[in-house]
Each structure stands twice: as C-alpha cells, then as structure tokens.
Amino acid sequence: MKTRLNFRALLLASTLSLAALSAEAETLRVAMGYDPVSLDPIATSDNGSIWTQLLIYDTLVRPDATGTKLEPGLAESWTVSDDGLTIRFKLRDAKFSDGTPVTAEDVQFSIARAASEESGWGRFYRPITRFEIPNPREIVMHLTEPFTPAFNNLALFAAAILPKAALEAKGAAFFDAPVGSGPFVLKKWTRGASLELVKNPYYWQAGKPAVDEAVLEVVTEPSARVIKLEAGEVDVALDPPLNQLAALKAEPGITTGSVTPYRADFVQLNTRYAPLGNEKVRQALNYAIDKTALIKGVLYGEGTPAASAMPVMAYADPALTPYPYDPAKAKALLAEAGYPEGFEAEMLVDSGIATQRNTAIALQAMLAQVGVKVKIQMLESGTQWETTKAGGYQMSLSYTTSDTIDPDQIIGFVAVNPERANAYHTEWKNERLNALYTQERKTVNGPERGAMFREMIQILHDGAPFLFLYHPATVWAEKDYVKGFSVLPTSNFRLEDVTIAK
C-alpha cells in the first residue's frame, strides 16, 4: 500500500515537473523552403532531408564551423595510418535518444549499410572492406587500397550512425520515428508542413541543445517565410528573397546573416547537342555572360563570379579567374566554330526558385546579344532532374553544393565521366582529368594532391562543359533575440548552440 502511494506521488510529481518544464519550454521555429523527403540517410540527396538528418543523427567526424577541417563527432579521437589503409576510431561515451549506448557494433552496421547495394552513396564507402572491433568503444576500418576521401566521407550524412538493434527490429518504419544520437529527436512529422523536434535528453554535449524544442516549418514561398518572420510566427527565415534583404536589414528587431557555402551555380551544356559539342562554342557562351551584372541584378550583390563548376573550397586555385565578359570575343569564337549567326537552344529551368527564373531570363537576354536564341522551359525541379539525367536536354540551369569539406565529392560529380553522373550529364569527357581523379584518390592529403585538383579544375575551366555563373551566398533573416544561429559552409545548419534571449 505504502509503496503504491509512493509510486503515485512520484507519478504526480513527475507530471507536475513536466508541466512546469513545458510551461517554460523554449521553442525555436525555423522556416525553410525545402520539404524533406525521407530521414533515411542512405536514400536521400535533397537538402531538406539532409539538413534534418544532421539534426537527428551524428557522424563519427563532422566538418567544423569554418568548413576547413573535421572535428570530433561521435568519435572522440582517431588515427589514420601513414599508408591510409587503416583508420582507428575511439568512440565517446554517447547514447542514442532511446537511452541505449552507441557502440562500435552500431558504427560497423551503419557504415556497412551506407556501403550496401540499397545505398545511393555506396561507392563512397565500399573502399572500406573490413572492420575490426577490439572493444565496444573502438573500431578499426581497413581499406585494401588507398582511398584518400574515405576518412572525409565518414563526415557525410550518409554515414550517420544508427542504432543497429532498433533499426533491425523496426525495418523501414524506423525512419518514421527515427532514433539517433544527435541533439534532437523527431516528435511529430506533418509531411509538407512541419517537423517538430525535441531535445535529445541523452545528447553527449552536456547542457546542449539550449532550446527545448525546434520546429522546422516548410514554407516554400520565399516571401511567405519573411512575412512569417515579421509576424513573429517563426524566429528564423532561411533564404529570404534577396531583393528584400536591404529592407529587412533596416527593420527593427530583425538581423540578417550571410555565408558563402561550398556551392557553384552554372548551366549544364549537353555536349551531345551539335553546337554545344564544340569547345569553342562553349567558351564563346562563357565570354557572353556578364557575371557582374548577374550578381548585381539577380543576387543583389550576394555572390561572387565563378571560374568553374567547382565550389571554392580546399585546394582551390586563387589564381584561376572567371571568363571575362567579352561579347566581341564570343562572337569571334562562334564565327570560328562555324556559327557566325548563332544558333537556337532550349534551357530547362526550375520553375520553383525565383533566383533561377530571374537568372534564366537574364542569361536569355545576354546570349541573344551574341546571336544565341535561348528558349526557356520552366519545369518542376524533379522533372528537370529526370530530364537532364536521361540526357534529353540542351541546356539546364543548375547548381551543386558540397556536403563535405573535401573537393573529391564534387569533382567526381561535375567533371568525371562516367564515374557518378557523366560529368553532371553534360557527357563531356577528358581522359587527363579522369586519370588525375583516379590518382588523386590514392594520394595522401598535401601539396601533391592539391596540384592534381588545381590541374583538374583548370581542365574543367578550359573545356567549359558548363556556363560558369556564380557562387551565391546563403542568406537568412532572424529575430534579434536568436543568438548563435548560422549556416555552415556545407549549407546545413546546427541548432544545438542556438539560444533564445528574449
């Protein structure tokens, strides 16, 4: 009897304390334009999914805030052997959000899963051929041949560490209510509308996250995100319309922030389409673009001109300059290539993004100056992606962002053919670049590997399978009382350090 009473009292007390807690629970509300598709890290490549996953799961190592090196994640420390064939991790004392400890067993399971056939990122992890678990807090990964990006790839969202037991028990349903060791836990997911996250009580960074809850609201219309911020319905609005930035900065109670992430915007040129198969034509088009005017008129100054389709990141060559705006030279090159009167081409454009629409219209006017008549075809982003993938296009306005701090991911995507995407579906091929890519992946980090990247990017610049445009900044607007919010160079954001000082 007595014990029962005690139990009741305990229950009552805990209910009361919970109520007290929720009364002062601090919620951070973020409006973002992307609608996450799935929380399964090996099945996704869209930004909404990736950013959300990185709030729920941890990786062994992760890019630091400057985007120049990796910092400890679930791994407390690590050693990479001189030949690069052995990577040894010591895990920290961390728990998943269901209270079970993170073990080397979970790490092996997660990395093996990321390397599996069902994974969209398999080739990033397949070079890791063998695991060794000396004790539950230590794991050794063995490679059979050198693969320099291996270590870096472990910082990618696809290598998120998942609880083996829970995932095996639940199967695919696990990702509807996932369990991770990251700062937040998914409470409620209203598809297309919002994701409600609560703080993970077992999170390994003591005292973090500072807020109790974080709500990610999916608001696809950029102006609507700003209106919600002004109305106080959200605390942070990601990607406000760039043209409204000046007015937002002037508004009391609102601050704006901006970082230049690892991103490059460009137009894919399908080299299988007759005029675009000619290198001189592709270079001519690059000379015909006034990038300064684009950045001023479309990005409202929030960007820098691009010299290639590679984001400016590790091993970038500061001496590589963008194609200058020179319509006379463009016309001369077109004439040399046998197109003195120009030609016609169709450009696919994502209808959902205002900046893309505006850039397309500006490009159309600029290319018309040298006789190239561009027909714009607005498409929904998924259709645009599928169409370029199938190769049935001429030009397509697109961009790429790097999820890691090593340039290997993006060079393999935009410049190497076939590798991952036939040089991002341009079907352009350069044997020297392909050879450098194979070599780079076997070369340890250092000046030698850097020289290989610089040569590859120079070849890409000269071969011009893209119209190189700009590196746009990522911008956000927030209420004054939000402290510590920032977007990382890898384009995602972390919320564990954000505080609300009302």
């Binding site: 043209n243 409204q244 007015a247 005017a293 008129g297 629409r357 397309a360 027909k375 714009i376």
Partner: protein, 273 residues
C-alpha cells in the same frame, strides 16, 4: 452588321466595344508611343516606381511594365480568342447535328460530352498540358479538347426547341434539303445564345491562360503574358507593388470589356416581340 448596330445602341455593348477598341489600338501602336523595348534588360533602371517616363514603373530587370502589359495583350487576347472561337465552331456543329437528328446520334454525342464534362475543367487542362508539355501550342490543344462541350450543349438545346417551331415544320412540308434547313434556318437562331456565352467564356479563358502561365504550364518567359508578369512579381510585391497591380488591372480591364460586350449582345440578340 445589324447585330453591330444593335450592340452599339446598348450602353453596355458600346462601352465594352470601346474598351476593346482602345486596347487593340494601344497594342498595335505601342512601338509609336513607347520608347521602351519590352524584352531589353537594364539593371540600372530596376524597380522604379511609376513616373512620367515609365507610366506603370519598371520590373526587377528594369523593363518598362506599361510596354510589357501592352505587348502581353497580344498573347492573352490571341490565346483567349482562338481558344474560345475554334471550340465554339466545333461545339456548335456537334450541338446542331445532335439536336436536329436526335436518336442514337444525339445519344452518342451527348454521352461523349458527359465524359469530358465529368472531369473538373482545370484538372483536365492540367493533365493535358502535363502530358504534352508547357507551350502555347499545347495550351491550344488542351482548350480545344475541353472548351467545345459548353457550346455543343447550348446549341443542342436551342436546336431541339427550334426544330419544333412552325417554320421548321414548314420546311419539311416544302421538302427542303436537311443540310439547307440546318445551316440556313436552324443555325442562325441556335447560335445566338452560344455567342453570348462565348463572351463570358473569353473572360474565363483569359483568366485560365494567366493562371496556367502562373503555374508555369502555359506561355514561357520572357513573353510578357499577364500571368507570367504576375508570377514574376510575387517576390517583389512588397517593394514594387506596381509589378503586380498593373498586369492584374489589365486582366480585370479585358474581363470587364468582354463582359460588357456579352451583356450588350444578349440585349441586341433578344428576339423582339
């Protein structure tokens, strides 16, 4: 000609015709009184408020909105008129045949209209444009496939009524050819309500074309079609409301003009007696 005189006598019809004439004249004469190119970019002149040199202001690319709205009228009017009158012709023929011959011909044609009618208009047009791709030509195909239904039904109803009237009975007694009766005696009377309906249909079609272009399913940029002008203005609505307001006003203006003409027509065509 008599219809036109009647139309001009009704105040609504006269006003509507005057508005249409003004629009067409302004559109045709744009190059003479506007120094601006509707397509040329000038980032230096971006988002200027309405002024003496830019009557409707400029857009985010520095293009003159007044010139663009007028240039856009060509697109919207052309599409709306073609999308109404071609299906009207087809629908009228179907309605005439169905109403005049009756029996299984009528049953078959009307079941066909039922099938098309069963789908909500926009869903059907979206599906057609979705399958064929977004372009002006495909917009025509989509509207042609859907828009004839209304006319077929209206004309069929009128035809059934007219076929029972005494003067048609008389043509039977006189043993006139069926085709002659149909085209010379039934058609002129059966088509009048369809003509009135067509006026309001033009209004709805202008809106539908603008709406489809708004969703990226119609005409493609940089064509200054009004729906495109509005969708391009969304993110600038707060700083440069003139980018949205004037194209919106143009749609309302054309809507009122055609509605007034329709109103006038219904008065002018009303049987006297």
């Amino acid at each position: 000609m008599r219809i036109l005189i009647h139309l001009l006598r009704s105040p609504a019809g006269a006003a509507g015709l005057a508005m249409l004439a003004l629009t067409l004249a302004a559109t045709a004469l744009t190059p003479w009184f506007s120094p601006w190119d509707p397509y040329a970019l000038d980032f230096g002149a971006a988002m200027q408020a309405p002024s003496a040199s830019h009557w409707f202001g400029t857009d985010n690319f520095g293009r003159d909105i007044f010139t663009r709205v007028l240039a856009g009228a060509v697109f919207d009017l052309r599409i709306a008129v073609v999308c109404v009158f071609v299906p009207m012709l087809a629908g009228t023929m179907v309605g005439l045949v169905a109403g005049f011959f009756g029996g299984w011909v009528d049953a078959a044609l009307m079941r066909l209209t039922d099938v098309v009618w069963a789908f909500p208009f926009y869903v059907l047009v979206l599906a057609i444009v979705g399958v064929l791709g977004a372009s002006e030509a495909n917009l025509y195909i989509a509207f042609f496939l859907v828009n004839w239904i209304g006319y077929a039904r209206i004309v069929r109803g009128e035809t059934i009524l007219i076929a029972r009237l005494e003067y048609i009975e008389a043509t039977r007694v006189l043993r006139f050819g069926k085709l002659r009766v149909l085209l010379r005696h039934v058609l002129p009377n059966a088509v009048t309500p369809a003509l009135v309906y067509a006026m309001s249909d033009v209004v709805l079609t202008v809106q539908a074309v603008a709406a489809l272009s708004f969703f990226g399913l119609g005409v493609q940029p940089p064509a200054p079609e009004w729906g495109i002008l509005i969708v391009e203005s969304i993110d600038y609505m707060r700083e440069a409301p003139w980018m949205t307001v004037f194209p919106g006003f143009a749609i309302v203006w054309i809507g009122i003009a055609f509605s007034l003409v329709g109103e006038g027509l219904s008065v002018a065509l009303k049987p006297k007696g």
